[in-house]
């Protein structure tokens, strides 16, 4: 008998395509077509963008956007925020998941799991509206607490110096539970015998976590990092609800800026920004995936 894979009959191939076709069509209609359409709009004069016969202006909108100092500042803010958010969310979630998985937390583990996951299922609007009130400089709970314990007031969303940190904390609250869930799933399939072997070999708790458990967490680290990069590069809802791009443009991230232009009917420039952001998101996500997926030497 040959060890080669037996040839697949032509009928079975057609059956496969028949089943795959509806999903391929949905992907094209709802996934690829909007991307093509938005790119097409980015090449048109805004006032004619939605008409049956738009006027195409080539790369004019891209040149306009790239020469706009507000867009450049917005792009830099977005990248800084994404970097800080990805690091903060992934590290915090990893630490929290390891804590939940350890024996340090006893029977209260379920409560901690629920507490961490509840914000994920809380509607964005409700959660971020509460954060906005928490940060209020007049009656917000954050500064009331800091005042109570004798610490200086936090500028929160009222200061350009702290606004980014303020919304990072709000997003950390909202998203971490999801990342924790992925890490917990990975921890559940880690090989405990390796940890026990390391313990027998004399490795302490930290060494076991760092050199035995963490390498086994690679798949979830890759997934969470890539997802977080995509998520935070597109940060939008928290800005709309809490800061509206302010104060003084400190949180005017690209998604929000594009939305503002879109709302003013500047469709061409808005779509040019969206296209630039799409390319960045795709490129960064791909690079992050490739780096994360590289086999250790």
């Amino acid at each position: 008998m040959s060890s080669m894979t037996p040839p697949v009959s032509a009928n079975r191939v057609w059956v496969f395509y028949a089943f795959a076709l509806p999903f391929a069509a949905l992907t094209i209609i709802f996934g690829l077509w909007p991307i093509v359409l938005s790119f097409s709009v980015s090449l048109t004069k805004s006032a004619t963008a939605l008409r049956a016969e738009p006027i195409y202006v080539g790369l004019e909108n891209y040149l306009s956007v790239l020469s706009d100092p507000i867009f450049r500042a917005s792009l830099i803010s977005t990248l800084i925020y994404t970097l800080a958010s990805v690091v903060a969310n992934v590290l915090f979630a990893l630490g929290y998941a390891m804590l939940l998985h350890s024996t340090l937390i006893g029977p209260g583990r379920t409560i901690f799991k629920v507490a961490m996951f509840l914000p994920v299922v809380t509607p964005d609007l409700a959660g971020y509206a509460v954060w906005r009130w928490l940060y209020d400089q007049s009656f917000g709970a954050v500064n009331a607490f800091l005042d109570l314990v004798g610490l200086p007031a936090f500028g929160g969303i009222a200061s350009p110096d702290t606004a980014m940190i303020a919304i990072l904390i709000a997003e950390l609250w909202h998203h971490t539970g999801f990342f924790v869930l992925i890490f917990l799933a990975n921890l559940a399939i880690c090989d405990r015998s390796l940890e026990e072997a390391a313990e027998i070999d004399g490795a302490n708790r930290w060494q076991r976590k760092l050199y035995v458990v963490l390498p086994q967490m690679r798949p979830s680290l890759v997934i969470n990092t890539v997802y977080a990069v995509i998520q935070f590069l597109k940060t939008f809802t928290v800005v709309v609800i809490i800061t509206k791009g302010g104060p003084n443009g400190a949180t005017n991230f690209v998604s929000y800026y594009a939305y503002r232009l879109f709302d003013q009917g500047r469709y061409g420039e808005a779509m040019a920004m969206a296209s630039i952001l799409f390319v960045i998101v795709a490129a960064v996500a791909l690079v992050a995936y490739r780096i994360g997926d590289r086999r250790p030497s």
Binding site: P247, N248, G249, G265
Partner: protein
């Protein structure tokens, strides 16, 4: 007999279907606007029995996007209604609004419209709106708070500062909490901050906020610089506003006013009807903006003009223009005054209005009109956006020397204006 009856019914239904028309108008005037257009629609129906008027009110931000996309996709409403500067933005993004100069000429009685009214209505060589309501904005103060701190309505800026200080320290609402502020202002979005500055500048009797008709930057002229400095200090050094004001736009500003957190605020003629009956329940006095100079008359600010525009692709363009013309008639104007608090005609009955509404309707205060630089300098919106960013930056990071900041900003604005004017 039955056949004849059925035939009559069918004919009647067909006739109704053919002749009944609905004009749709999109605005941002809220419930008062809807009530106004309902009432005007009934009045219009007296001469056009088969026409119904349907008005839809959107929040201002949504109004822009919806109008622009509707006009650009040939799904436009019959008419749009808003402030002139917002309609200018619609025209720049669609280039598809009808010229209303001809329809205005066809109106018999337009003597009540001033040259300034007509100038405001024009942009890019055509009349983009029929002017329907002048926008007046006065200065308001909560009467019970004034009474609580033993003060009168502030006549001068020094009075206003003293009252603001008392409002913040003497618990004017008597709730035992240190939770009240002197002023409710806004600063978040482009135009928010400049809009507030306009009120301070024109309210103080000055004529230009940033640039004069000849293209000269005026912000470092002594009187302008004085008002500008006091305005910026109100947000910073004096701290008379809620600390979050840098993130406040209209919605948040209204929350501060109606939620009883600030004692002095802008009162638009369109606010009074609501604030007379709910929210403030009439607990406010309205007057001119505080005086900054002995030799200049302080004023209520005429901040612009609201008007009606007709898209070129309006589904019922001729009828829409007819309705737009009708909005200038005495009955429609009377209804505008009663429902939305403003009009342009001078022959309206005002005696039944409340004292505060009469203040605007009878133009009892000294009036100073906004100078509409956007109609003179095509580059003004861009210049203003740059100016707004400078001022917002100063509020976020207050300079040590305000005079130096104003001088430097003036120079930067001159360079920017020169650059922009060269295209």
């Amino acid at each position: 007999m039955i056949k004849r009856l059925l035939a009559s019914c069918a004919f009647a239904a067909l006739a109704t279907g053919v002749s009944a028309e609905e004009l749709v108008i999109w605005h941002d005037l809220g419930d008062n606007g809807i009530a106004w257009f309902d009432a005007v629609g009934q009045e219009f129906a007296k001469t056009h029995p088969d026409v119904t008027i349907t008005s839809v009110s959107y929040p201002t931000d949504q109004w822009y996007g919806r109008v622009i996309s509707a006009i650009n996709t040939d799904t436009a409403p019959d008419l749009i209604y808003n402030n002139y500067e917002r309609v200018i933005r619609i025209e720049t993004q669609t280039e598809n609004l009808a010229d209303m100069a001809g329809p205005l000429d066809a109106v018999d009685d337009t003597g009540f419209l001033t040259e300034a009214d007509l100038n405001v209505a024009s942009y890019g060589g055509k009349m983009i709106i029929l002017p329907i309501q002048r926008v007046q904005m006065g200065f308001g103060a909560r009467s019970s708070w004034l009474e609580a701190v033993g003060e009168e309505f502030p006549a001068t800026w020094e009075d206003a500062k003293r009252v603001a200080g008392k409002f913040m320290t003497e618990d004017p609402d008597g709730n035992g909490e240190d939770d009240t502020f002197g002023f409710a202002l806004e600063a978040a979005n482009p135009r928010d901050l400049i809009h507030m500055l306009d009120l301070f500048i024109f309210g103080a009797g000055l004529r230009h906020t940033l640039i004069d008709p000849e293209g000269n930057i005026v912000i470092d002229a002594p009187e302008h610089a004085e008002v500008l400095k006091e305005f910026l200090k109100t947000f910073t050094e004096y701290g008379y506003v809620a600390p979050d004001t840098i993130n406040h736009s209209f919605a948040e500003m209204y929350q501060v006013i109606e939620g009883g957190r600030a004692g002095m605020f802008r009162v638009g003629d369109w606010n009074v009807k609501k604030w007379d009956s709910e929210a403030l329940e009439g607990d406010f006095i309205v007057g001119e903006w505080p005086a900054h100079f002995d030799d200049k008359e302080n004023a209520v600010v005429i901040g612009g003009m609201r008007g009606v525009a007709v898209p070129e692709n309006s589904p019922h363009k001729d009828l829409a223009i007819e309705f737009a013309q009708f909005l200038l008639s005495q009955p429609a104007q009377q209804l505008a005054l009663e429902n939305v608090g403003a009009a342009v005609r001078d022959d309206l009955a005002v005696d039944d209005l409340s004292e505060r509404r009469q203040y605007f309707a009878k133009a009892q205060g000294n009036l100073n009109a906004y100078d509409f630089p956007e109609s003179l300098h095509a580059f003004y919106p861009e210049l203003e956006a740059t100016y707004h960013r400078k001022l917002l930056d100063a509020i976020a990071n207050p300079p040590e020397d305000w005079d130096a900041f104003i001088s430097q900003t003036a120079e930067e604005m001159r360079e920017e204006a020169a650059k922009l004017s060269q295209g």
